[in-house]
Amino acid sequence: MTPAAIGVDVGSTTCKAVAIDADGRILARAVEPLDPRIEPQVERLVAAVGGGAGPEVPLGATGYGRKRVKAGRAVTEITCHARGAYARTGRPGVLVDMGGQDTKVIRVGAAGEVLDFAMNDKCAAGTGRFLEVILGRLRVPFDEVGALAGGAAKAVTVSSTCTVFAESEVISLVAGGAPPDGIVKGLHQALASRVAALARAVASGAPEMFLSGGVALNAAMGAALRDALARPVRVVPEPQLVGALGAALCVLR
């Protein structure tokens, strides 16, 4: 089946592509770690999801590399994530998108439009990169994080949310004999409190909260965010693809 539109999300750590039909349903998807040679990678992924579709299929591009996607129309991640998340949940609310290099909090309106947004400042605190660095230190594989933190009896307090500070704080906690599962849980709490501070600036009232982005694949993050915000946080289905889906929806005729 020829797709009605294709979306690519050239992020800071991964490159994502989806093809959708005229109703916005995902027909095909692809995710790869980001290649420094962006153009050939985008061509390859578009070909993979497009199933031989020609240039007549509209292409939407988002993410930091969006302007490197020549054939596509560039739309920012903020607009795309709002559109994508709204398409998957069908509801307005506040979307927290946690990607590799930045975290965005987007207030999504009743038609999937952006009402307001906030982003982390330029240090990596509160982003996927922060988690990656420190989990790497602890030698915890990403797919085991959820279970490890979920099983922790008690969180170990990690006060610093600066990547550099937190890394050394974690080293000293390990040296001091703190249990790794408790540290991982504490780390997620520290991160969640940072994101919650960002979210509060946008989320006045009590809207529904959603979580998207690669970090959302980690169940511990959703749990920590729920605790920090003291309200339910729903993970958008296929959270990593929300941006690419939104990009495709933005160009869908």
Binding site: Y64, V75, T76, I78, T79, E113, V114, L115, M119, D121
Partner: protein, 351 residues
């Protein structure tokens, strides 16, 4: 005379025949090693200025004037003048904080007199009331011309980068030359709007890097109203106190002039008054979004953000707060924020 931001009695300098060359950083990476003398949590403007002075960047001038402005520039003044970095004459100007109370007016008058007395030997001439009156008139004209260009922005057939380049040349040109350029620009103003796009109100400290204007233009937006401390927030509009009346005592006019520009936190304006001023600017210019472009660690600007956000939230006008550090290039994240913001404002318009 090199002058640090923001507010200073330029008329006084003009009357003494002293050319003011304003030092807004300069932006970009600091020159030389002196930047290390200020901690990383001090604003980039103070750090860059120290590095610039210490590396001989301002050696062509005869003196530096440090207006009080904020804790950081005040600290910079004593750091550079007393501990090395600037060994030639340094002058200070302390604008009173708070509302124009009788005590503050009397102080300001005495402070202006004191500055004039300190500058006279450097200028090699004494300040006469007639000269001061002349300088007041000249600057009143400059203000009127700047106000006309800013307040009738759509009729000015210049791109944002071009308009700002023109306005910001006033930071270092002789006043007469600047006035001639402004008049030339006014003369070619169109009868009907020459600029189209999404109108945005911009407030903040200084439009650096200029790429911020290009980023707005690239996504179909333009600066419909300006409240940058360096630009629109220093414009005294005709009719404001001290803006006219040659029959008045020039010193009284100068004192009045110092309080006549729009509300600015570095002169301790009330945040509510500033927010109200911005709302009025937005209404007059038809701006549909507000970009607050603040220098990181700038306390005066940062303390006003909640009041401004609240005022525009009440009107349903979107506000984007963008922090910068006078960097040479705009970061990809900053570009994304600006683009997403314009997308948001446009989408709202379409709906």
């Amino acid at each position: 005379m090199a002058v640090l931001p923001v507010h200073y009695p330029k008329e006084l300098l003009t009357a003494l025949g002293v050319l003011a060359v304003e030092l807004w950083g300069p932006p970009g990476p600091p020159r030389g090693d002196a930047a290390g003398r200020l901690q990383p949590y001090v604003c980039a403007l103070a750090r860059n200025a120290l590095a610039f002075l210490a590396s001989g960047g301002a050696d062509a001038v005869d003196g530096v004037l440090f207006p009080h402005t904020c804790d950081s520039i005040q600290g910079l003044a004593t750091l550079a003048a007393d501990f090395g970095g600037w060994s030639r004459p340094a002058f200070t100007f302390l604008h009173p904080r708070g509302p124009p109370r009788p005590s503050a007016r009397a102080f300001l008058r005495a402070e202006l007199r004191s500055l004039a007395a300190a500058l006279e030997p450097l200028a090699g001439r004494s300040l006469t009331p007639a000269k001061l009156a002349w300088a007041l008139e000249l600057h009143a004209e400059i203000h009127a011309a700047r106000a006309a260009l800013l307040d009738q922005r759509p009729r000015v057939a210049l791109s944002d980068p071009e308009l700002y380049a023109l306005l910001r040349r006033g930071e270092w040109l002789w006043p007469e030359e600047h006035l001639a350029e402004l008049r030339a620009a006014r003369a070619v103003m169109a009868d009907r709007p020459a600029v189209q796009g999404v109108p945005i109100l911009v407030s903040g400290y200084v439009p650096e890097p200029p790429a911020i204007l290009e980023a707005l233009g690239a996504v179909g937006a333009y600066v419909a109203a300006d409240d940058y401390a360096a630009v629109g927030r220093r414009v005294v509009r005709p009719g404001a106190p001290g803006s006219a009346g040659p029959e008045e005592d020039p010193w009284d006019r100068l004192v009045a002039r110092c309080w006549a520009a729009p509300p600015c936190p570095t002169r301790s304006a009330d945040p509510g008054a500033r927010a109200a001023h911005l709302v009025a600017l937005a209404e007059r210019s038809g701006a549909r979004g507000v970009l607050l472009h603040v220098v990181k660690f700038c306390e005066p600007e940062l303390f006003d953000v909640p009041a401004i956000r609240q005022a525009f939230a009440a009107r349903g006008t979107p506000v984007l707060v963008l922090e910068g550090e006078l960097e040479a290039e705009l970061s990809a994240q900053a570009v994304t924020r600006i683009e997403a913001f314009v997308e948001l404002v446009s989408a709202r318009e379409a709906a």
